[in-house]
């Protein structure tokens, strides 16, 4: 499983590199090479490292281990067809981890980034509604059951299209340089990760790679079912390119606008959920 975890991390970083490249090409810049994020992670891992004098040493180091640990758990749950609730619990936990990153360093940029990550937890609410909508159809939260349901009834992408749209928006909120990326806004330097550098930043990059793979693969498994490996890779590439277009063509929203839009999406999803429940009751 360690080999799979390493491969998933490298593949996730490659997808993030493709994301940057596509955004750059849309904006008529050459952009970095697609393997830039992998080099970025390696570069940080070789660098001289120390912890700022203002940092909480235990939290500063521990939060990196927690960040990698929770996405390792998510990857394991995804591969074994475990409960979707665990994966989405980890999405929420990641917000707390980002908050911990921001607060641990003692830098105001990090603190603002950490606070914004808590504000942007609003982006997770449509996710829970979309999970509930899926469960109405499949009668289960287990990924293995959701995949089995799709083998009989066809992809949930067509059956529960609004839920797929809501989850796509959640994915958009997780991608860097997107309209909802308020935690990494340039006025905060690098946001919650401003003071994490060297080995600790490399650890964070590992977490980001793993997170990207889990995020995209889970979406495909939930809405398209179990695909062959090559189709899975092609699907993840297509998803990344579409997300890159969305990120390149939309401005970064202010924190309050970001939360407002996510809340509106939640409202729409709640209406959709109510219609589904009314259909089940009737």
């Amino acid at each position: 499983m360690i080999a799979e975890l390493v491969m998933a991390t490298i593949f996730g970083l490659l997808l993030l590199g493709i994301h940057r490249k596509v955004i750059a090409r849309i904006q008529r810049r050459p952009g970095p090479p697609v393997w830039q994020e992998i080099l970025h992670m390696l570069k940080f891992s070789f660098k001289s490292t120390w912890i700022p004098a203002t940092a909480s040493t235990v939290l500063f180091r521990g939060v990196v281990l927690v960040a990698i640990g929770i996405w390792t758990a998510a990857f394991f749950v995804m591969l074994t067809g475990g409960s979707l609730l665990v994966i989405f619990g980890i999405y929420m936990l990641h917000k707390i981890v980002e908050h911990g990153f921001g607060l641990s360093s003692g830098s105001p940029y990090g603190k603002f980034g950490g606070v914004r990550s808590v504000i942007s937890a609003a982006s997770e609410i449509p996710l829970f509604v979309s999970v509930a909508a899926i469960a109405i159809f499949t009668r289960s939260f287990d990924i293995s059951d959701i995949v089995a349901y799709q083998q009989v009834h066809g992809p949930l992408m067509f059956i529960a299209f609004p839920a797929a749209v809501a989850m796509y928006i959640v994915m958009l909120s997780k991608m860097p340089f997107g309209p909802f990326s308020i935690v990494e806004s340039k006025e905060l330097v690098s946001g919650y990760k401003t003071e994490h550098f060297g080995v600790w930043r490399a650890g964070l990059e590992v977490c980001n790679g793993l997170k990207t793979t889990v995020l995209l693969a889970t979406f495909l498994m939930i809405f398209f079912g179990q695909l062959p490996l090559l189709w899975m890779i092609a699907g993840m590439l297509l998803l990344v390119v579409s997300l890159s277009f969305a990120c390149a063509l939309t401005p970064m929203l202010s924190p309050f606008d970001s939360v407002t839009i996510q809340t509106l999406v939640t409202g729409l999803m709640l209406c959709y959920g109510a219609v589904l429940i009314a259909g089940v009751m009737a």
Binding site: I2, T49, W50, T54, T72, F76, G106, E195, G198
Partner: protein, 57 residues
């Protein structure tokens, strides 16, 4: 290396049926971050002296 060893050993024990899946998952979640950070700390350049970051005006 202890992290990698623990993860690999747990994987083998899980495949042989000695270790239940939940315990394998727990070992993996604990050992993979230790393996990654341990590896990076092992090959990184020497540690520098701590610094005070910008803490506001």
């Amino acid at each position: 290396m202890a992290g990698a060893s623990a993860g690999i050993a747990a994987g083998i024990m899980s495949m042989l049926g000695i270790l239940p899946p939940w315990l394998y998952a727990a070992v993996l979640v604990l050992s993979f971050p230790v393996f990654i950070i341990g590896l990076f700390l092992w090959w990184m350049a020497e540690e520098g002296t701590e610094d005070i970051p910008f803490i506001g005006y």
